[in-house]
């Protein structure tokens, strides 16, 4: 891939992630399941697609810029700390899990969703100096199974289309 293509794709991914995390706030998941920090993790679809399609270096760049811009556009500094804590752990786990041959994108996504919750709760415990918040972790982990599966299948669908595009990319799907 040419450098310009690479930069352009990263830009598209960052804006996609920002729009998705904004749209996510409009979905009142808390109304159905009242837990703090619960969300669908739509922006994780972008992280997964960048990790699989562009590589881990680009995925890290996209993730960090997205977190910073997300804070600028409305999350604020405490929002930044939480999203950074969750996202960094999630991407670390996902890029490690991607290398494990027994996991498909589904396993990677589920582990990433769980890691995101653990990272977020960890940050919350540190910032609020209260172990009480960790009482939510078991519930969040169970929900992460479902949200992780959903984002994994969304990312798989996108990637199947993307790798067939004539962009000079040498990636194919394994059986």
């Amino acid at each position: 891939m040419k450098k310009a293509e690479n930069v352009a794709l990263c830009g598209v991914m960052i804006s996609l992630a920002l729009v998705l995390s904004y749209m996510e706030r409009l979905i009142p998941l808390q109304m159905v399941i009242p837990l703090p920090g619960i969300k669908l993790g739509l922006a994780n679809i972008v992280t997964l697609v960048s990790l699989y399609f562009l590589g881990s270096k680009q995925a890290w760049a996209i993730l960090l810029i997205r977190c910073i811009l997300g804070a600028v556009f409305g999350g604020g500094i405490s929002g930044l700390l939480f999203s950074v804590g969750g996202s960094i752990l999630a991407l670390t786990v996902m890029s490690a899990a991607k290398k494990v041959s027994c996991f498909s994108i589904f396993g990677v996504s589920i582990l990433g969703a769980a890691a995101h919750n653990i990272g977020q709760i960890f940050m919350a415990v540190i910032l609020m100096k209260s172990i009480y918040i960790s009482g939510y972790l078991p519930y969040l982990l169970v929900i992460a199974l479902f949200t992780g599966f959903a984002t994994g299948s969304a990312a798989a669908g996108i990637l199947r289309v993307l790798i067939k595009m004539p962009m000079g990319i040498k990636i194919k799907e394994s059986n």
Partner: protein, 128 residues
Amino acid sequence: MKETLRLSFRKGDLWAIVLVILLALLTVGLWGRKVVSDTAGTVQIYQNNQCIMEYSLFQDALIPVEGEYHNIIQISGGKVAIVESNCPGEDCVHSGWIKSPGRSLVCLPNKVEVRLVGKEDEVDFIVR
């Protein structure tokens, strides 16, 4: 060099699911007992990690909390909720009413935490 991607669900993914379930059970085991004890009696309101107010759960009250944002906490009939907030997202309001000890309501933007504790203070440990 051709890279291959594993995009279909595999048997190995079940291990990821098992791992997450185990983690969930482990965290229940670790903290479930410590955090959840007998009947709640006291509502503690924390802001910036400091307990700023303490109320009985059985005396109805409407408590405004100022800060970067504005929360209104309501105690009513042995339950407590953050009923109003102008924070972005309003996760705290959507969390609804709580009544069990060890449960807490959190408004991260306003750095407010509403904790329910037992009749005597049952805090086992606080992470510093």
